[in-house]
Symmetry: C2
Subunit: 228 residues, 2 copies
């Protein structure tokens, strides 16, 4: 290989990293709408045109920031199958999936972690939902795969609650639970709308998740879609 | 009374009505962001300045449109305590609140009606959530009262499911169920995101609501907020 090609590759990687870092700070501090090529170029110390040598458009850069936000949330959730913080000594782990009680606890923890993340990173979290691909495009596969990895965090405890459910039903149920949690968090944190205190939101999430978990457990094996 | 004052009152009322009608059509066809004083004045056949003789600002006009949207949804739900459409002959009514099964059915119907409304009136529905009061202001009391009236539609079947719950818990539960339903509908209808078919959304709503209802019924009287 030509060593100068290597160096070009390194410079490109460094520029890419600098731009994502600058975009990440902008989104976190001012929100997605504040992403502007000129400001990003200045922050990354490059010409405006150089941005487009490493990203096809600002949309791709916004998606790179959102990927980091998803990873940040994933990291905030802790290792998969970690013991529950409130059951350190020999108690059930999320991995000990035969225990439906531990599974319900794990689902509650996920819901509360989602609320805590939205509160800690309001503008990054907002950008996850505000960003949309250009008309006619869908999110790229690597982004969808990352979302799916987060949904699998919900699917695991659901499998413990309802081992009889086939994968497609469990996967849909995980998405339903995520959407329901998101609705409670998004409307509840909207200060000009419901303006509920965080303690109330935590009660809402815990109540909803525990009622749903109890309901799922009370159903007969195989019972899932009702009378539709 | 001075008859000319009466006529002025009538003219004001007619102008107000014409402006709300024009704003309603604009929101329904083009969305909230398309509300512009000049276009509204043209549609209502008045001078731009005349708008501000009957509304303090466009924000108040947007709120008047949203009130009509809430009323339209309320009307779509049918009379309070109407018999369930699928139980016309002597079956339980939503008013026959001693029957938890009918109450769960009523909650499912409300969730499905919400989805149907969002599909039938996407831009009007969007405007309900997109509109926000000017900074530092909250929605006026008459608007909050109208929202509360809609929440009471959810509280009534919840009271049948869990007659033991005191009013504040029931009221919060109704808001939780609404937010959860909203989350499923809003993320599910977002075509560039989940892009789920309507039949799938109906399954999600029915599954969530029935699981939650079954879970609430399986709890002991008085049990509601869990280990928080």
């Amino acid at each position: 290989m030509d060593p100068s090609a290597d160096r070009r590759g390194e410079r490109r990687a460094a520029l890419r990293e600098a731009l994502i870092g600058a975009a990440e700070r902008t989104v976190a501090e001012q929100g997605l709408a504040a992403l502007r090529a000129r400001d990003l170029a200045r922050a990354a110390g490059c010409a405006v045109g150089a941005i487009y040598t490493v990203f096809p458009d600002l949309d791709a850069l916004a998606l790179a920031v959102n990927l980091r936000t998803l990873n940040l949330f994933d990291a905030a959730l802790g290792p998969v199958d970690a013991p529950a913080p409130d059951r350190p000594a020999g108690g059930g782990t999320v991995g000990a999936t035969a225990d439906p009680r531990a599974a319900a606890d794990a689902l509650v923890r996920l819901g509360l972690a989602y609320l805590a993340f939205a509160q800690a990173h309001p503008l990054r979290w907002d950008a996850l939902f505000r960003h949309r691909p250009p008309p006619g495009q869908r999110a790229p596969d690597w982004y969808v795969a990352e979302q799916a990895r987060l949904f699998s965090r919900i699917e695991r405890p659901l499998a413990a609650l309802r081992p009889d459910l086939p994968e497609p039903e469990r996967s849909l149920l995980a998405r339903s639970l995520f959407s329901a949690t998101h609705g409670i968090v998004a409307l509840g944190l909207d200060e000009q709308r419901m303006a509920l205190p965080a303690a109330t939101l935590r009660v809402q999430l815990e109540t909803l998740v525990r009622a749903m978990a109890a309901g799922l457990m009370s159903q007969r094996p195989g019972e899932f879609t009702f009378g539709a």
